[in-house]
Symmetry: C2
Subunit: 245 residues, 2 copies
Amino acid sequence: MNRLAVHDERLPLYQRLRDDLLRRIADGEWGPGDAIPTEAELNQGYGMATGTVRKAIDMLVAEGVLTRSQGKGTYVRRPDFTSSLFRFFRFKTKSGEAVQPTGRVLGRSVRKPPVEVRQALGLDESEPEAIFLSRLRLIDDQPVLAEDIWLPRARFEPLVELKLKDFGDLLYPLYESVCKQLVASARERLTVEVAGKALVERLGIEAGSPVIAVQRVAFNFAGAPIEWRCTRGSAAGFQYEVDIR
Amino acid sequence: MNRLAVHDERLPLYQRLRDDLLRRIADGEWGPGDAIPTEAELNQGYGMATGTVRKAIDMLVAEGVLTRSQGKGTYVRRPDFTSSLFRFFRFKTKSGEAVQPTGRVLGRSVRKPPVEVRQALGLDESEPEAIFLSRLRLIDDQPVLAEDIWLPRARFEPLVELKLKDFGDLLYPLYESVCKQLVASARERLTVEVAGKALVERLGIEAGSPVIAVQRVAFNFAGAPIEWRCTRGSAAGFQYEVDIR
DNA sequence: CAGTGGTCTAGACCACATG
DNA sequence: ATGTGGTCTAGACCACTGT
């Protein structure tokens, strides 16, 4: 018989169950790709009706934390970031096929981040320094995006000594395998800038041309911020679509 | 005893009920602000269990078609467009308060629209001409946005003769009162351009500076496109935020 | 107070996936 | 054949709204 952890008694049962399941995921009881207990097990374990359990799971599915497969089970979702704003840069190879850019870390340092980053990452006086990465994203070996990344040192200590060439194409799998840091969600902010000297050099675009800047803060399952990054690329060909009601 | 209109028997009951309710809304049986029948009435009228009716209503609420008020009833939502991309132009008056721009129609003509617009509005050979509006949005009498608008003539005939000064600040209420055309949803596409001569004149911005272009197609409750518009404004200060998982 | 939507129960049966 | 999630029933009781 499972028991709900401390919760506000005034909240609906399904809400409390949703919170409890999310807590167990954040605690690492089930990781991405794992199946959570079946609905029948949750019914009996928590002593609730099927409809109540389903509603709690519905919420977590709607939030993108879980996915259901009829006949198989309910799984903790491994977030892919195909919904990221980057996918609206419509990158193509020379031959015209759509493609994901590769990644290359150019530089790394450990120093005090700007106030904006400190606040976004929730760093206090006890943790003055963070890891800074300068990174390029390329297609056909041509740079298309420039990234500035800040990571809290306490969580990402192993990256301080890692050789730059061992960072590989994708950072989030590296965070998981080397630092046990899982990205569960993110918030992105898009603005438009004008290409300055630094960007002209890094991306080889014209000075004064419009640039899309996407600033992202990534969070783990517990809702704590674990990464700050800003990605910049030419606004030419950028296109974002949204449905409203 | 109500009956579901023709529907695919293989679809779940709640799905068929949802389709039927949406059809009745599109048919004008209930307009924006009206209450739909109570859950008990729907239970009995359609001969379904409460849970099934609730699930159908849940879907329409999630889609933004209905809103629920505990103790009062369930209502057809009057869409406001506070979720439009325009809200990310952070407009302020000279005194610094956030504000909605006013509107002014500068010109109107009836002519053949470009292919892109014809396709978006689903116009065929039987309807070669459409209404074109050129419009400015202003704050403190300073132009901040320039709009090009196309309307299918068959739906908006009364606007051909309306005096320009009688168009007023907001178009959608005008569409409803004068043309009986209700906007239920829309799709917006955001791109970045560089200010050309025409826009420099209309908005008084610098040539070559970045410009946000938002192209919108608006739909009625039946899902038919009824308006095409493209709005352009300076990219300075534009900021868009999104959560991803 | 009566009427509304919100929560919750305790099942039955169906559709799909896997061995 | 077994176990999973998906659909649906037929209610009971609660919380909120307006008269």
